[in-house]
Amino acid sequence: MKKGIHTALGITMVLFLLLLMQGHGFGGTYRVIKVIGEGGSGSAQFNEPFDIAADREGFLYVTDARGFSVKKIDRDGRLVLEWGKRGAGNGLFEKPAGIAVDGEGNIYVSDYDNDCIQKFSPDGEFILRWGKSGEGKGEFDSPSGIAVDSENNIYYNHRIQKFTKDGRFLAKWGKKNKVHNIKSVLSLLFPEEKPGDFYYPAKIVVGPDDRVYVSDSYNNRVQVFTKDGKYLFQWGGMGFWRGRFRVPSGIEIDHKGNVYVADYYNDRIQQFTGDGRFITKWGSEGDEPGRFKGPTGIAVETGGAIYVVDWGNHRVQVFSISE
């Protein structure tokens, strides 16, 4: 009897250690370079910033959800340009959410409340708008994340929809499906649960190889697809240890193909290789520099600096990472 208990305890311990060890890796060190916004020295101020994107010239674009605008800032956090005000017409926003920049410097913004995508020039001039509320092709139900691939095609998530840069519908994939929380915690035992389905995915990014990475927020995982929507693999699962997530939100890829994930409830950023191996993590709950209150967006600027939208602290924090 005692032997049985000891064996069970041993197996439990081994499983626990395996869970903790999963994703173990050795990363570089990070440090805060700057805090932009509330409490920070940068001149730009935010009211519930939600997402961020970098262009090739080193400018950053931030959706200011409660400010009904897009803010363009330079590397030092100075406000260069702001456009938009509250409304439902062209160039107006009710809740600007996801943001992405294409290879020509044009800006795409999804509007969560107006169920549309708008396209702007780098100077904030309105170019195009498409989408309406609904479930059909080219229709949206609270769009949040948005991304652009090497051919300037646009991806929007919730389910995933793909469009040309002119808003012409190309493809869609995925459906709403929840991974049970227990299976998510024990993803070592259930590694490929409900592949290709999503439960409130927040953000999306396209890698240098045109693979599409989706933060499947309430399934607590990252899923990876080809640009045509073929499921490739996933990683994560619910948890607070390394490589695990509690509502992954913003997702970004650097020029080396490393993936950064804003881990909302864990108040941290995690860095992975492109195939999902854990590299490093930083951050915890708080309002001091380097801490977060719900990070929702992330961008890597051409110089390598990492910009994190710290939603609950109404600011953007800038980090460097050395190897």
């Binding site: 519930e48 939600f50 959800a65 809740k95 959410a97 969560y112 409340d113 609270s142 949040s144 409130y200 927040a202 927020s217 509502v247 939100s249 909302y264 409830y265 719900g294 929702t296 939603w311 609950g312």
Partner: protein, 107 residues
């Protein structure tokens, strides 16, 4: 005889239908101005924005605020709008949350 009976039954059914239609099936609060809803499971911007979007679509809703830390939503209605408690509960549930207390205040 049969025709009279049929007419009587038809009339009764018609009257019952009309009466059901006239009866107020919901808790309507005329003249209510502010509503506070305690919501279970409200914790992140995605939740907050989703609920806010649905509440904004309520007839006469003028202002919607979500307080994540306090787990509550507040609504301000236009003057003269009747507030329907059941409709509010339905919308909160439809957004994926559990409504707890709903406090309705007149001006």
């Amino acid at each position: 005889m049969m025709i009279r009976k049929s007419l009587l039954i038809t009339s009764l059914v018609l009257l019952f239908t009309i009466a059901t239609g006239i009866a107020v099936p919901h808790d309507l609060y005329a003249g209510a101005k502010e509503v506070t809803i305690r919501v279970d499971g409200l914790a992140c911007p995605f939740c907050a924005y989703g609920l806010e979007k649905k509440l904004k679509k309520l007839d006469g809703a003028e202002e919607v605020n979500i307080f994540l830390n306090e787990g509550k939503a507040t609504l301000v209605f236009k003057d003269g709008v009747s507030v329907d408690r059941e409709e509010i509960e339905r919308i909160v549930k439809e957004a994926g949350f559990t409504p707890k207390e709903i406090e309705i205040r007149a001006e």
